[in-house]
Amino acid sequence: MPGPRGVGFGCHLALPDVLYTPDLLDFIEITPEVYHREERIQGCIELVPEPKPLDAARRRCESLPVIMHSVSLSIGSAHGMYEPCLRMMDRLLTEWPFHWYSEHLQFQTTLDAKGEAMNTGVPFPLPPTVEAADLVAGRAASVQHRYGVPFLLENPAHYLPDLPADPEIGDEFGLMERIIAVSGCGQLLDLHNLYCNAINFGFDAGVALERVRLDRVGEIHVAGGSWGDGFYMDAHDGRVPEAVWDLLEQTLSCAPGIPAVVFEILDRYLERLGPDGIAQELERARTIWRRQHPVAGAAA
């Protein structure tokens, strides 16, 4: 996959510039919704830029390549994707070019009794059915075509048991596999999400990795989480668990062609880890990545 290779991090404006140098990072992952707001323009909802934070983010990213990771597309909503997100990405493609684009394999809007789209409040997983797979595959193919850059879908973490399933799809791995096969898009393999689901649904994440099309993985996410009410949560609230680092080692040793690893943390937990702690997590990701990419590592 063309584009940046190595370790990336989100654009957190509260953090010091010193974290955003090529010494520590190879690229920056932008969540564009953070710099936009919804506005009704001529009866139509649009995502319009908030100039101050957007300019600050662009200055922050001046020295590094950028990839986009949106959160509002709701690619799995049966009634339709969130079109303002697509129009925002149209504009960004020319104003702030990106090497690839990713979204989450989930839905977060449904229709209410009046037929109007409502936010669900949390994103939900798609049932592993033929209908869901084919719906998303068609949309993913059109998104990839629309922007002319690779489009990746992220495997989500969730806590819902007994989703309706078609036997030929089976589970979340079958769903992703069929979408990738039909659409031609790639996967953003979120190892922390995989780890969460493995704990909460009682399967072995290392074994499950064998069912992931690693040849189609264009990016990996790692993050931290925590326990609550007997569930392990994808909280993005701190350091990456050792088990997830192990999964990263396992993944990259099986598929050294995977170009990119991103460490994720939510803004509200930045203070908890601090710039030094964040730098340590990035260094560790880079050490693992370079171990599997010795030539690229030496060149970098």
């Binding site: 919804e38 908030e50 409502m118 936010n119 669900t120 949390v122 209908e131 806590y159 819902l160 309706p164």
Partner: protein, 218 residues
Amino acid sequence: MIESLATFQARLGRAVRGGDNCPIDPHSPGFRFTMAVRRSWCEGRSIMAARAVLMLMSDIDRQHLVSEYVDQGGGLDWFQGTEREKFLAFLASRLPDPSHALTICQISQALAQAQWGASTFVPPEQRAETVPVERSPHAALVRFYADPGAIMMALNGADELPPLGPPTHAVLFAPGITNLFRIATDAEAALWATLAIADAPRPLVTALLSEGVLVYKA
């Protein structure tokens, strides 16, 4: 026979908003935990949207207002700006008037509107005196009921909130004002309140038009 994706999603959407006929066992630990996470996200988005206002309330009042807002379907928006606008509007309708919390709420609303207007603001060309004017939708006048410095110290956690008194300062917010706000004069505050343009000195009206406090009617 598996139900359609649209039916599954509609049922799940209704269930998370308190409806019945959930397609997932609503008593399962996984569904109940998902609902708890959803509640926590909604409350978290609301708190993030109005942190400064909520800081001026007691824990009980804060929890009560956030809970009431989320119970009414608030906290769902993914966009912080949109959520901020909705939650501040809710708070403005619930907070005692006058109160320091309402003042900070109105300042938060006014700043957001002025910032928003500033991204496209161009001072208008002067028109005939007969052209009617109105308040800009991106402008506001907010009154303080104690020394603003003392309220800011309380917001910083450095001091207790001062007691409420008569209005001390009126602050104008508008997209064309340097730094988006300044103290209003008595004449400006009166003009803002009454819009009695015919009785106001023309230079005052012109100045407020150039700062985007007032705008010509379309």
